[in-house]
Symmetry: C2
Subunit: 213 residues, 2 copies
């Protein structure tokens, strides 16, 4: 099997890559990294990612890291497999580039921090910092106001089909649906419908199922 993903099934970045591979219907091997034992900070993992963060990715002799970069590679290489997730038209693709940057630089900073405070820390037996939650929830609400307006104009964040820009939200979105922050999404009707729609995708449900096996 040519494609290998080294990571943790509970890491948002690892889940992001698995979701993409599932959408493309590609075969891959999942190689678990024991993060509690710090395997991601040691060899052989840091030869895959010198920053010591999961996931690491291999496709034959090509070694990559950074989940969003891996997904751009997958979608631009395996163009004829599964869901396209990207566009051919340069102008449509430009809007997709914007959507991916918005996820990474506007949505993810508060959503990632909230996921850490409300789901990852409790999983590890650590205390949630309520002041951080309050601040990041307010930041997320402002970002989702822009999403609400955008999703009133198109079914997905970068147009009328499901793309990488939507997919990149799934891991944090999925975690936050199990927390009190769900109300920040639910109180915005277009955002709520978009969440329900993309979380129900079979490729995503397969990632969740992998966590429970």
């Amino acid at each position: 099997m040519a494609i290998k993903v080294h990571g943790s099934l509970f890491s948002t970045a690892t889940m992001r890559v698995l979701a993409c591979l599932n959408e493309k219907g590609l075969d891959y091997e999942f190689v678990p990294i024991d993060m509690k034992a710090g395997e991601h900070k040691k060899e052989p993992f840091i030869s895959l990612n010198p920053f010591g963060q999961v996931p690491g990715f291999e496709d034959g002799d090509l070694k990559l890291f950074e989940s969003r970069a891996i997904n751009q590679y997958i979608t631009s290489t395996y163009t004829d497999k599964g869901t396209p997730l990207v566009f051919h038209d340069p102008k449509e693709m430009a809007v997709l580039f914007v959507g991916m940057q918005v996820e990474s630089l506007q949505y993810n900073p508060p959503a990632g921090k909230l996921t850490l405070e409300l789901t990852i820390k409790p999983m590890l037996g650590m205390a949630t910092d309520e002041a951080v939650v309050e601040e990041k929830e307010a930041e997320l609400a402002k970002v989702l106001d822009v999403y609400e307006s955008r999703l009133g104009q198109s079914k997905y964040v970068s147009g009328d089909s499901f793309t990488l820009a939507d997919l990149h939200h799934l891991p944090t979105l999925s975690y936050l649906m199990g927390t009190r922050v769900k109300s920040v999404f639910d109180s915005r009707p277009h955002v709520r419908a978009w969440c329900a729609n993309i979380l129900a995708r079979p490729a995503w449900q397969k990632v969740i199922a992998m966590q429970h096996n």
Copy 2:
């Protein structure tokens, strides 16, 4: 003139887009946004970018924001103009995707904060937060250790030619060269050579010259 960039000549994100347009040798109109007067938070600007951040970008009827997305659009559309800045080969392009993500998610968080504390705040008559500087300088040093190793293997961050992944560093790099943080770059020989090389590019020098006109 079809291409318009709305922004501030001193904003790192605006400078990032201008550097790309200059490398591609494209004609464009620069439309100044008075950030002190809060023009970026009001109409008509927020119709270009609902997050109220410079730059906004127009190419005919296409309207975009997020500097790195704009640059991906420019390089994938105007492929036959000026410096390529991207690769054709999917595996080389994959390494470039990684380099762009590393800039955005590893390098820029400390470098952007240091730029704010050591150059933007003093420009606006605000006090530098020394505790933030100390923390972010340590973070940047760790990131640059990885760069030092990488730049020992290839002349540029994503291979042997200058690409978007290098270009995206230029605005913060240029600002930080005028601060005490310069030593964090200079103490790493491959990083120091890379900085000197990319900062000397005529397309970048043109951005600096625009600031002084």
